[in-house]
Amino acid sequence: MTVFRHIIGPMSISNKILLVLSVLIIFLPSCSLPAISSNSSSDTVSLIENKGSDTIVNLALAWAEEYQRINPAVRISVTGGGSGTGIAALINGTVDIANASRRMKEEEKESAINNGSNPVEFIIARDAIAVIVNPENPVNNLTLKQLSDIYSGKINNWQEIGGEDRPIVRLSRETNSGTHVYFLEQVVRLGDKENKTLFSPDTLLLPSSEGIGAEIRQNPNAIGYDGLGYVTEEMKVIGVAISDGGEFVLPSSETVNNGAYPVARDLYMYSNGTPTGIIKDYLDWLLTPEAQNIVTELGFVAIAE
């Protein structure tokens, strides 16, 4: 305020008018701009809009880069935001391909059809969800039942499952994340459709994988889950057993493909209607060994032939 007063203060009347005029000159041309710069896009490059799951976003980016290198005439734009976000965008018709780390729900299919689009599903890779803790935490193994009890709020101290006397801090992705929905259905509810158990209300809902990583790295009370591709050296991966007395298994390509690791899922892409043209070419290419090698490099699980 005072600064402004100092500028205005010593000005003569004509200077003030000049100031007003210059403001007008700055703002006026912006009204006519859209008319001038409309035809800048050329027809030689085709664009694929690809949006959705944060779990898949790095993989989709790596695929897009490689595919654009092979086919310079195709441009692929990849954004994250969560599976729900990608599917909503597909329903609203703003993207060509939606990435999802979970299957589309029935309501979503209905509202897609009501909106005149017809999503077609492709399984493009598999992913193990790793349960992670701070390396200082002495707990190495948990059963699915124990994980369910932790996340639904029945177990609240690490002591109850063979750890130190520390409170358990539960970390989860936000509810728009496909990983969240998968974990709710397969772990918290143990895959039982009738089971209506919810996450404990004091579960921290973090907006990103990085949020979970940052908390796990520095907090020995915390337990979290995330796609295997996001696990780094500073976190400890927990071995998971399907039942009491079962074998504790660590997630890897091998244990996912032979079904030994229980918390694994398919990753999906949805196109709007049966794909044609460049979108079909791209989706076909994703299943070639060349593209599936990238899957393995990024820590996901390639689809077994």
Binding site: M1, T2, S14, I17, V20, L21, L24, I25, G81, G82, G84, T85, A88, I91, N92, E107, E108, S111, R166, P167, I168, V169, E174, T175, N176, V181, K196, L198, F199, P201, D202, T203, L204, L205, L206, P207, G211, A214, E215, Q218, N219, N221, A222
Partner: protein, 305 residues
């Protein structure tokens, strides 16, 4: 250019008229915009009251993907963080305003004020990052909390964000108090502290109140920082102890979930209902503050007449 030439050469009264008109339009447009935004919020938000019954809305469970729409924890979360931030920002903001305006030597003031204003311009996502990686681990160890992602962490950062706003506006108000008030007070034998506390600050009271109000407004509307550091667990705060547990605010909920909702769904309308609540709260803060200022002005007029 000739239009502007004409404009400059045209008669004084015509110029005056055009400038007045421009300013009038600018003034009224603010009212029109606020009105239109409120109508839009009402149209999108009120269907929520029909689709979700009231007992569900005022329950304490927020889990929208399973149709639990209790908004009380979110309102409580916003209130507890805003209160905390205000308790930090008001003493520090007004204290530094008094120091800069009344005590500091000229060169210190010229140096410090722009610096504090730069602090006010820091992108909130940067502060959030700092809070997530530095402040929250530090607070967890210092206070021996289960996790550092708490309402308190959010309140500290929001307080920090609001301090420059409070300071800058309060300093301008103190600066506008006529020199003669202070001289008169000092001539009467009052100490410097008595002059500040009994004369200068009360004389600038309406400006100082505006400063506090703007600070509160800044804190309650802030989104990115709270989303990153408060853990986003929708726990209904039941007392001051909840300052040290995770909370979920209204703004973070809208930001995290708006992207995923299908247009027109119940969840979508409930998010707009939260927007209405947020709007009403800031309206209440504004009205309270301006009533206080108005009442005080009337009293002043009575004394002067």
């Amino acid at each position: 250019m000739s239009i502007f030439q004409n404009f400059i050469n045209s008669s004084h009264s015509k110029r005056e008229f055009l400038i007045t008109l421009f300013i009038k339009i600018a003034g009224y447009s603010a009212i029109v915009f606020v009105g239109m935004i409120f109508i839009f919020l009402l149209l999108e938000g009120l269907p929520a009251v029909q689709k979700v019954n009231l007992t569900s809305l005022v329950s304490s469970r927020w889990y929208p993907i399973e149709d639990y729409f209790g908004i009380l924890p979110l309102i409580g979360g916003s209130i507890i963080i805003t209160l905390g931030a205000t308790l930090i920002a008001v003493p520090f903001g007004i204290g530094s305003a008094v120091y800069l305006s009344e005590i500091a030597p000229h060169w210190v003031r010229e140096l410090l004020k722009p610096l504090v204003e730069i602090l006010g311009g820091l992108p909130s996502v940067v502060l959030g990052f700092l809070g997530m990686l530095v402040l929250s681990p530090f607070l967890r160890k210092l206070l021996d909390l289960p996790t550092g992602l708490t309402a308190f962490t959010g309140a500290i950062l929001l307080g920090g964000i609001a301090i420059p706003t409070v300071m800058s506006v309060a300093e301008d108000a103190l600066d506008a108090v006529p020199r003669s008030y202070r001289d008169a007070s000092l001539a009467m034998g009052a100490t410097e502290w008595q002059t500040i506390w009994r004369v200068t600050v009360p004389a600038a009271r309406s400006g100082v109140l505006t400063a506090i109000m703007l600070g509160i407004g800044r804190a309650i509307g802030e989104t990115m920082t709270v989303m990153m550091v408060t853990g986003n667990a929708p726990i209904l705060p039941r007392g001051i102890g909840n300052l040290f547990s995770p909370v979920r605010t209204m703004t973070a909920t809208i930001a995290a979930e708006m992207g995923e909702v299908a247009n027109g769904s119940v969840h979508y309308h409930v998010l707009f209902l939260i927007g209405i609540v947020l709007f009403l709260i800031s309206l209440a803060v504004n009205i309270t503050a301006s009533t206080v200022i108005f009442r005080q002005k009337k009293r002043q007029e009575r004394i002067l007449s």
